[in-house]
Structure formats: structure tokens, C-alpha cells
Symmetry: C2
Subunit: 421 residues, 2 copies
């Protein structure tokens, strides 16, 4: 790998508060090795940018702009939800990738995403062996869901955890103030898909110094309405109020999402709602308590203003590590976070082969959830605590966070043929 090659970088899947910090780590590190890495081209909207030859020339961005990526949420180059088929199923896609990569002298492929994206990255890594195009594919982990295996945690998650724990604490203080004559139950719906990591972070709002009655509804624990109502009643009786943190992925025993209640409007049209109002309505029916509910949705994963310092540092370090791995000649690999000490939290960068990551989901382990299924264990607290630690505020201007928007100047097309997605 002594020949200088250009690099391709793209962001994939749902974006986070710190995926751009990984981009900053990657671009700044690559820029420091001009003898090895030429231009860094970013795919406009993920892998689609490669397939359609819609490349962004990041060399047109100033050092200051790239530095600002570290504190800017969402995906600066655009992301996509688009999964490659296998080489056997759709050889054309891969021929196209090779055509575009070859035209732009791309030898490094950096893909920044979650489980689906790891799968895409793995497939690209096979171009060398299966299709004789020399490329090194490195995956940079990113997912607020924290559901990637091997790595101790995923960049993006720590900041969502901090946001959800902070918001749950703040809203709980609010409902506690109102409970005597008004709202007694507050319900917060959080992301996380099939894994309860983000929901678990809600329980962190309560600690020894600031006890708060919180019930968590995990996707990993089948919802039992009777048990849940008994717990709500018990907590309201004891504390006067309760906060419920419910995962969007919460399911009944039948495996059906709680949010899927077959709601119809006055004209009989099916209505898509969240799980928070569903739980709220159940509480009203069964117990009659006054409630409020919130759905954090994008607010949680875009909340760079309350990002975790640990998370930002790890996101940056993984972007940097990806370049270092590429320069070592690695392929089909992903840098990971390895926790080396728990008492005084310490971490380092490790690696894993991509085939161990692609399409594997890491759920909450059983010993992280309390026996009643509604809370987290001390072991879980020990795991989550350091990930939320430290503040890393963005600069503010006129009362608002000052986030960067890149120029995103297109690379001149060289293939210049259309490709149908």
C-alpha cells in the first residue's frame, strides 16, 4: 500500500449527534497523510453517492469547517437508507461501484453506520477477492441504538443516553410539581428499535442523590398490562407521581408492537401513532390518572447541544482509527471501543472483523434488567454511567448553536453515465 490512493467516505442510516465528529477525525487524520491518501471524496447521501457518481470533494472545505464538524449534529454529507444486495444477487451494483472507484482512483472505502451499513461495507470489502478490484473497506461504527456487537458501545448512543436521562430528570421534576392537583404520570417515548439501551438510559435519571420513580418498558420484556398498571399504581401511591420511559420497540406477548393499535380516524383511515399515547390511554382507562406524554423522536438523536463528552471523543477517535487501519493495509475491519477499566473509566480502540458485526443485533443482557422487568440493575448503571459523562457544548451565536454547513462541492464526473438505483 505504498501507492497514493484517494479515499471514499460516506454516512449511512439514521444520523446522530456525533457522526460528524467521526467524519472530522477521519478527514483531519487523512489530511495529515498526504503522501498516502490523496483526496477524500464523500458520497452525497451515503452509498448512493458512489452508485450515482455523486461525489463531494472534501478538499474544498477549510480546516476550520472540518473542525466545526466535531460539534455539528446530523450527517454533513447526507445519509441514506439503502442496502446493497450480495454480489451474487446483483453483480451490476458492484460493477458500477468499481467503475466509479476506478475512475476516481479510490482505494479506500470508509463507511460510517450501523448494522445494515456494516453489511454493505463487508460486501464492498469483497470486491478485492471476488472482482479483483483492489480496495480496503473499513467500517466506522455509529448507531444511537447501541445494538452493534463486539464494540463496548457505539458512538451516538452516549449522547442520546445523556439527553434522555437529562430530559427524564427534568420532566420528572416538572410532573412532581404538578402531581397534587394535575398530572400524575409522565410518559416519554424513546428510540432504540429492538434494543432497550436508550430506554435504559431513562432510568439513569434517578440515582442515589436524586431518587425518581421511573418505570421502563423495554423491547426485551413482553408488555404485561396488569403488572404494569400495578407498578404505576404502586409508584403513584408511594411518590405521588411516576415517569414512564417506553421504547418505540415495546411489544406485547404476541410480538406485536404496542404502538400498533389499529387506530382509525373519523373516516376510518388507519392512523399511525406513537407508543406513548397508547400507553397514556391505557393508564387513563385502567387507573384514571391525569397524564402527559412526549415523543422525543429526532430531537433525541440530533441533540448535539447536550452531547456526551465521552461520546464525542470516541466518535472522533474511531474516525481517526479508521484511517490508521487503512494505512496499515487492513480490509473488512471495524475499529471498536474497548473498555479497559470500569472503576475509573478507561477505554481504548480495538478492532473486529466485519463479518462478526454485520447484521448482528446486541440486545440488553438479562442481568442489566431488574427482575420485575421495569428497571435497570447496578451492573447496567455501571455500564451506562461513563458513556454519558462530560459536557461538550457547541459554540452559540445569537442564542442558537452555531453548526457548520459544508460547501459540499461536487467532484467533476468522469464516468458520466446514469445508474438506476
Amino acid at each position: 500500500m505504498n501507492k497514493r490512493k484517494n479515499a471514499f467516505y460516506a454516512q449511512s442510516g439514521g444520523v446522530t449527534a456525533v457522526i460528524n465528529a467521526s467524519a472530522a477525525g477521519l478527514i483531519e487524520t487523512a489530511r495529515s497523510k498526504p503522501e498516502k491518501i490523496g483526496k477524500i471524496y464523500a458520497g452525497r447521501n451515503g452509498i448512493i453517492g458512489a452508485l450515482t457518481e455523486d461525489l463531494i470533494d472534501t478538499s474544498k472545505e477549510s480546516a476550520a469547517a472540518i473542525r466545526k464538524l466535531r460539534h455539528t449534529p446530523a450527517g454533513a454529507f447526507g445519509s441514506c437508507r439503502y442496502k446493497l444486495k450480495s454480489i451474487e444477487e446483483n453483480r451490476k451494483q458492484y460493477e458500477r461501484l468499481i467503475e466509479v472507484f476506478a475512475a476516481h482512483d479510490i482505494g479506500y472505502f470508509f463507511y460510517n453506520g450501523g448494522g445494515d451499513s456494516a453489511d454493505t461495507c463487508l460486501k464492498v470489502s469483497q470486491l478485492s477477492k471476488k472482482m479483483k478490484y483492489p480496495i480496503q473497506a473499513i467500517h466506522i461504527p455509529k448507531t444511537v441504538d447501541n445494538d452493534l456487537p463486539i464494540t463496548d458501545n457505539c458512538p451516538g448512543f452516549g449522547s442520546v443516553a445523556k439527553y434522555i436521562a437529562t430530559s427524564t430528570r427534568e420532566a420528572s421534576f416538572d410532573v412532581a410539581s404538578m402531581a397534587k392537583t394535575s398530572t400524575k404520570v409522565f410518559i416519554l417515548e424513546v428510540m432504540g428499535r429492538h434494543a432497550g439501551w436508550i430506554a435504559a438510559a431513562g432510568a439513569m435519571a434517578s440515582d442515589a442523590a436524586t431518587e425518581i420513580p421511573i418505570i421502563v418498558l423495554f423491547p426485551e420484556v413482553p408488555f404485561n398490562r396488569k403488572n404494569f398498571m400495578a407498578e404505576v399504581k404502586r409508584k403513584v401511591s408511594e411518590f405521588g407521581y411516576v415517569s414512564v420511559v417506553v421504547s418505540e420497540g415495546a411489544k406485547g406477548k404476541d410480538g406485536k408492537f404496542l404502538s400498533d393499535q389499529g387506530l382509525v380516524d373519523a373516516f376510518g383511515h388507519a392512523q399511525l401513532g406513537g407508543v406513548a399515547p397508547v400507553v397514556a390511554n391505557m393508564i387513563k382507562q385502567d387507573l384514571g390518572y391525569k397524564y402527559h406524554w412526549a415523543v422525543a423522536d429526532y430531537l433525541q438523536r440530533a441533540a448535539r447541544h447536550i452531547a456526551s463528552k465521552t461520546d464525542v471523543e470516541q466518535a472522533y477517535a474511531l474516525g481517526k482509527a479508521a484511517v490508521q487501519l487503512a494505512l496499515k493495509g487492513e480490509n473488512a475491519i471495524m475499529p471498536t471501543i474497548v473498555r479497559t477499566s470500569n472503576s475509573l473509566y478507561r477505554w481504548k480502540i480495538g478492532t473486529t472483523k466485519l463479518n462478526r458485526v454485520a447484521n448482528v443485533e446486541k440486545m440488553m443482557p438479562k442481568n442489566f434488567i431488574t427482575k420485575d422487568g421495569f428497571g435497570i440493575t447496578p451492573k447496567c448503571r455501571e455500564y451506562l454511567g461513563p458513556l454519558m459523562k462530560g459536557e461538550d457544548y457547541p459554540p452559540f451565536k445569537n442564542g442558537l448553536p452555531d453548526y457548520v454547513r459544508l460547501k459540499n462541492i461536487s467532484v467533476k464526473k468522469r464516468v458520466n453515465t446514469e445508474f438506476k438505483l
Copy 2:
């Protein structure tokens, strides 16, 4: 007013991120005048604390604890939604108040709330004349809705405005990243009751340096589905995505809340949902765009972690001013915020008679809303800008904001008879 008297302070209505800052300003100032003001008793859960003789002795709290109120959201003494009837309608309530106040030598009544609370405070101020009990009633403004008249703005609002503008900017960066292959419309539901002030703050997410396509649905502008859809379509065509900020109070031409869509579940039970999913479903039906929606609910008004510095300072100053007005012998009065300069924002404390405030709602003026009804004018920006300005982060501990909980030790009862609310 040379005789030393005790004071009663209570928090009323929906709480905010900075109502405790007013409490801190009031208590610290009162403590500095021990020759005039004896003990400061707080009502547990607002006026209910007075009626049920459930008083908190704030003198049991350390100076450090009171100082921490400045950065702690929600109502430290509990709030209530409870409106007194007029003296003519329910004389018993007032006789009870006099009984409790007399027993505890209370000569100052400080009430911290919105329009309904101003009405309660006004009624208490009439005890002197109508029932010969010497009391001075001072109202301290507080409402995230910003709908009180006379005062330039209300404490609580600036911080919500900052939270909503920041969150809208962050979520808009998120949807912009995803729009190519996924979500094209993001809908955020905000508070504000009948007034569009908070919704207007959403539009502040976009400015000259960071343009963002935003559509605001104000309660002041009757919803027109056809016009709205045309605007959504136009913005998505031009920018690829759009963010919609919808007020919980948005109404149709018939005056019916948009959120009131007669939803029923599979069993025919009426379901109470927010307006965000209603707007989302309309967009899906009419335009077929993929959407995400969020309901900020309590998160927005409890978000002390992203409070506006201006807001915190004003909340504190109004609590302080209330004591100063009391010591000047004033009654039936409310300190206000007066804007003295716009170009370089400056403000001072003014006053108004309570009868000019009680039960009056201040809506968005017509010249604050653009002609098409979907945005804000430069005049509105000029008004909102300074209110959101400055950061005032709370201290963090273990990754979470370190908010104080007071001891809230009860005052020994002296009347000791039950009072039925």
C-alpha cells in the same frame, strides 16, 4: 409597614425552567431584610398550601440550597391548578385564608404564576379592603406561553423559545441528512395554548446564516389544509425537506382543535392524541411523503439545561423586585419586564396594576406573522431574539444536571382544622 411580618410565597399553574430562579430572587432578597420580613413560608402546592395550612418553612433551607434554586427547573415547593372563586361567590375560602395568614402572622402574599394566578392574587389583594385583613399581594409573572399583557415578556418563555429553536434547528439538520431516501417532513408539536409565541420560536431555528425551510402552524391562523399542503410541497420541492412546527392550540376554521380528530381504537374507545400525528397523517394522505414527528411536551418547559441566560436573569430580578415592591407598601401589583432598547437589547423592571393583567391573554400581533400565515416577520425576530440569548448551564454531576431538592420542612400547624378544597 414598619412592623415586621412574615411572608407567604407560592408557585402556581404549569411550572417552568426558571420559576425557581424567581423563588431564589425573592427568598434571597427577603432574607437580606430581616428587620422587615420575618419568615418566608412557601405554600406546599400553591394556594392549596395556604388553604390547608400546609406551609413550608424556607428558613430551614441553607443559603447554598436557595442559590441552587436558580439553576433548578420545575416548582421546588409544588404547584397547583386551582382557581379561587370571587369573595362574593365563596366567602369561606377567604375567611380560611385570613385564618391561616393571621395564625402565622403573614402580611405579604407573593404569588408566582400566569393569567389565572394573577386573578387569584388580585382576589387575595382585596382582603385588605373587603375583609379588613391587612395584606399586600404581589404577583410575579411566570408562563412559558408568554401570553400575559403589559409585561414585554414572561419568565419561562425565553428558555422554552431557546429550547424549541435549538431543537428545531437540530432536528432539521437531521431530516435534511435523511431526505434523499427517507424522511422528508419533520413535525414538532409545541405548547403555548391559544397563543403562538412558542411556535414562533420554532421559526427562529432558521436565520440568514443557517437557512432552514420551516412552516409554522399558529393558533392565531385558522388551518387551511389546501394552502398548508401546497406550502409543504413547495418547500420539499425546493429544499428536499421541510420542518413543521405546530402549536398544540392550532385550530380549523370551525374553531375546533386540529388535535381533536375523534380517533378511536380497535374497541371504539376515544383516543386522545397530539396534533403532531394528526398533521403527519394528513401529509401522508395528501402528499405521501415519509415523515417523523415529535411532541416536546414537558421536555420543553423543564429544559433547564438549555435555559436562556436573559430568561434566568429576568426571572431572578422579578422575584427580587416583588420583595422590593412589598417593602414600598405596594398591593395588587405585578413587576414587569420593560424593554428599553432593541438594537442593543436592554431591559428594566416596571410595574403594572394587577387588574390590568388578570385573565387577559396576549396573542401574537398580526404584524409578527407573515402574510401567508406560515412564518414570522423581521419585527417578530427582533422581539424574540434577545429573549433566547445567552447560555446559563446548570452544574453537571456524573453526566447529569445537578438539581436541588429542598428539605421542604412543614411549619407547625396553628389553626389545625381541616379545610375541604
